[in-house]
């Protein structure tokens, strides 16, 4: 089976059912399937071949959904980027994965104007909502330009011939790397289908489910809401953000939403609102992942939504989801992230890779068909986390996360093995942020660390020293970072110090800085 068949099978079973709601617009499975077929033919005609990468750089929208499935139908690999990604990084990713096609909007194409000359592999750009001058600008950058709107109007509605098998790549999902450059997590059709099947099994999803999604489709948590609803033949209500909570709550009630995936930030906003005047008769479950919910939030959410099942979950892009806590365990072990999903094995090992017993801290290992194939063209980094498993030729995922289990096998997160910061559920490489700050005139030394934050998991803190005579303010640093890094990577705290603590070998000691941050 291939991933695009989630859509195709649902379009056969429920052609006239509403699959997607965005704003006031509703689209049936048949409409989306036909739109994806038309765009797939256009992608193929533009030169996209089996296994080629297609980058999708758009806000959450119908166009993103259609582009994802069109890419798969064309036999290609989709790469959805967070719509706040800055131009330099988009250029880096386009080149890193040697994308042959890009789907984006006229406005975003304007912001990418400097990238066309630097992306030799990129042949065609499909634009949505673009003016004639925006399209011309891309064309004069040497790219073949297609119009999303033109493709929608006409073209071949039928499904292109299948070329892939389920062990072919379906997507690259970019995540932060310890070297400071983003790494593409390679996932096959089988990887995604396995993870989506496991997750929808424990969430007990059916075709009656209506899930609302506020999370970017460029993050796997958001992406899977779409994939799982299309797998089940349910309905996805797609939003761009949770910025207007009342509008969101109205939507949940009006659209009779049954599933509400959240992250701790959304939970914090919900708990600030007066929800007493609302009823949520249709809401069946709330799921949380990204960062652990504070126990106090769990208690309050359960009081606000007494009839709703609350799923606490934990995941890694490299295998999508690691574990979930069955709702009936929430009162018994609220700080646990639960246990492995159906059809997945998770265990804790010592430094030699031997399994350890309960209560002992070790590295978490994940075994299952949801585990990625590796990092795109990074064999060393891949070998570092994918290691031989119990069967010949098999590779299991070493998570880099330290865990312990209780006597009944439930998992408890202890910390990271490396210095990667997990903030808002996203992994951020301190190195990537440091590299950006070092490029700012006047900066002498910088260390980026994570400090505990009840909502973000960890907040990013930059500690720096400036060159003699340099006048730098916190605003200067933040502005510089915001222009070059995605929103979640921009430090929350900036602190200037006269000097940074060093190790015996003269390297900046992050350990000492962290201790200082805790004491200070």
């Amino acid at each position: 089976m291939q991933l695009e068949q989630f859509l195709e099978h649902s379009a056969e079973r429920f052609p006239d059912k509403v699959a997607l709601i965005t704003g006031n617009d509703r689209y049936t499975y048949r409409q989306i399937d036909e739109e994806a077929n038309r765009l797939a033919h256009a992608l193929i005609a533009s030169g996209v071949q089996r296994g080629d990468r297609v980058v999708i750089f758009l806000p959450n929208s119908l166009e993103t959904v259609v582009s994802i499935f069109a890419t798969l139908k064309a036999g290609a690999v989709f790469v959805v980027l967070n719509s706040t990604t800055k131009s330099d990084k988009v250029t880096y990713i386009l080149n890193n994965c040697r994308a042959t096609a890009l789907v984006t909007s006229g406005t975003k194409a304007d912001s990418l104007s400097t990238c066309w000359a630097d992306t030799p592999y990129l042949q065609s750009v499909f634009l949505t909502g673009a003016s004639e001058s925006q399209a011309k600008a891309v064309q004069s950058g040497g790219k073949q330009v297609g119009s999303f709107e033109e493709v929608r109007k006409s073209g071949n509605n039928s499904s292109p011939m299948k070329k892939c098998i389920d062990i072919d790549l379906a997507a690259l999902i970019y995540t932060s790397g310890s070297t400071g450059r983003p790494k593409g997590v390679m996932v096959t059709h089988l990887n995604i289908i396995s993870a989506a099947t496991s997750i929808s099994t424990y969430l007990e999803n059916t075709s009656d489910d209506i899930v609302i999604n506020f999370l970017p489709l460029g993050f796997d948590y958001g992406l899977y809401q779409l994939l799982m609803m299309f797998k089940m033949g349910g309905t996805l209500v797609l939003h761009d953000s949770f910025a207007f909570p009342n509008v969101a709550i109205d939507k949940i009630i009006r659209e009779k939403v049954t599933g509400f995936p959240i992250v701790p930030t959304i939970s914090a906003i919900l708990l600030q609102m007066d929800l007493s005047k609302y009823n949520f008769p249709n809401l069946r479950y709330i799921s949380n992942t990204a960062a652990a919910l504070p126990v106090e939030h769990i208690r309050k959410l359960r009081a606000l939504f007494p009839h709703v099942k609350l799923f606490s979950m934990y995941g890694l892009t490299e295998c999508k989801r690691v574990s979930y806590l069955p709702p009936d365990q929430l009162d018994i072990r609220p700080t646990s992230v639960g246990r492995g999903m159906p059809n997945e094995e998770v265990y804790v090992v010592d430094e030699n890779g031997a399994r350890v017993g309960s209560g002992i801290i070790g590295e978490l290992v994940i075994r299952g068909s949801n585990v990625m194939k590796g990092y795109w063209e990074l064999p060393e980094e891949t070998a570092h986390c994918l290691k031989p498993g119990p069967l010949p030729g098999e590779r299991v995922l070493y998570s880099g996360d330290l865990f312990r289990t209780d006597e009944e096998g439930y998992l408890y997160f202890v910390g990271r093995k490396d210095d990667i910061i997990k903030t808002r559920g996203e992994k951020v490489s301190p190195r990537e942020v440091e590299d950006v700050i070092y490029a700012l005139d006047g900066v002498a030394e910088v260390a980026v660390i994570g400090v505990p934050d009840p909502i973000l998991g960890s907040a990013i803190k930059a500690v720096l020293t400036v060159r003699p005579g340099a006048q730098l303010t916190k605003q200067d640093v933040l502005r510089h970072c915001a222009a070059r890094l995605e929103d979640f990577m921009v430090p929350k705290i900036v602190e200037f110090q006269a000097s940074l603590p060093k190790t015996e070998t003269g390297k900046i000691s992050k350990r000492a800085i962290k201790v200082g941050a805790q004491e200070g």
């Binding site: 806000p59 719509s83 706040t84 761009d240 953000s241 949770f242 910025a243 207007f244 909570p245 009342n246 509008v247 930030t265 959304i266 906003i269 600030q272 609102m273 007066d274 605003q475 933040l478 502005r479 915001a482 222009a483 929103d487």
Partner: protein
């Protein structure tokens, strides 16, 4: 307070708080969300600012895109609230 003052105060707050002091051609009718200037926590910060700075009460059902998505929308909303008070 003059409309022009309200407008410049709001513009300054948005640019200082969410764009690190650099307006980079932010237009008064541009969606602050689409542009990635504010997100969900940004909206809450904006609401606190409006309440404190203009001494108005922002009701939950007023936190909607029409009132808060663009600089023009925010200015119109604050004017309406201030006029309603007097």
């Amino acid at each position: 307070m003059q409309t022009i003052d309200i407008e410049s105060e709001i513009y300054k707050f948005v640019v200082d708080s969410f764009m690190f002091g650099q307006a980079a051609g932010l237009a008064y009718d541009e969606s602050l969300l689409q542009r990635g200037v504010i997100d969900s926590t940004g909206v809450l910060e904006l609401v606190s600012f409006l309440q404190e700075n203009f001494n108005i009460t922002v009701e939950d059902n007023e936190i909607i895109p029409t009132n808060l998505e663009t600089i023009n929308g925010i200015v119109a909303y604050v004017n309406k609230k201030l006029n309603g008070k007097s």
